[in-house]
């Protein structure tokens, strides 16, 4: 279980796991040896609603930074998620086919999307946010929206 920093806005509490990095759109990126595991942040999953379907690019797919990695369909929206790293998909979460709602239930754990073998281990890391920066970003965004 990772440690979290969290904040509450209105009736919603959002958690940010502190053991990984984040893309601007809300994907988390966690280094595991030479590979990178990717999933959706708690903030993004709560904002997007209950997941109906999740389609992640198949194993073997080569992705450039910013290429579409997955499409998530929720009860509210369809979201195209961009790969936060360049590399090749080497593992998919089988639960995405059968129980994609696991994204909502455990976004930082068993709700992961894919594992990517990156072209360069640290490529684009400068374009990712550390947990504190991501926390500040989403807190500001959530508070701004709730004040509207």
């Amino acid at each position: 279980m990772p440690d979290y920093i969290e904040f509450t806005v209105d009736k919603f509490t959002f958690k940010v796991a502190i053991d990984r990095y984040y893309s601007m759109e809300g994907l988390w990126v966690k280094r595991e040896g030479n590979n990178i595991r990717i999933g959706i942040s708690d903030y993004l999953q709560q904002r997007s609603g209950d997941v109906a379907f999740s389609e992640v690019k198949p194993i073997g797919t080569k992705l450039a930074f910013g290429d579409e990695l997955a499409v998530i369909e929720t009860i509210k929206v369809d979201i195209s998620l961009s790969s936060p790293v360049a590399g090749r998909v080497i593992e998919l979460n089988p639960a995405m086919q059968t129980t994609p709602e696991i994204i909502n239930q455990d976004p930082y754990g068993s709700g992961w999307l894919a594992v990517i073998e990156p072209d360069e281990a640290y490529a684009h890391v400068e374009q990712l946010l550390d947990p504190q920066a991501y926390f500040a970003r989403i807190k500001h965004e959530a508070e701004r929206e709730i004040s509207k």
Partner: protein, 144 residues
Amino acid sequence: MAEIDRTRRVVIVPCSGIGKTYGTVSREAAYDVTEDLRPEQTRLVALSKLVLGEAEARSIVASNPAITIDGCKLACATKMVLESGGTVAQDYAVLEVYRRYKQLKPQGIAELNEGGKLLARALADEIAQVVDGLTRSGDGGDNG
């Protein structure tokens, strides 16, 4: 022809979520069942009446088996039936039904798109089968 216990009807309680596509699907399915598919065996009860604690609605729910259709995971319809002293014979969540009919993507709120209408109908057909089972049993069915 199946024998119907006419002293009791299966109560259909859909989601009351206004402005939500899945709530609209739940209500369309409920209308399909109660007005079209099984009008003699079912009775529609508005969730809002249970929320307000209306005596007649609570009495109907408490004395008949209920089928609930929830539009989101808050499951208000199911919770309110139980809080009203009723028995949920079968509960449906629109999202789970949609997962079984992926080609029928619901969109729209005041008016559903074609996919939403077909999804509502597919759900209504499933509910009608459950109603048949409950009314055939004559005692309100197995309320598991």
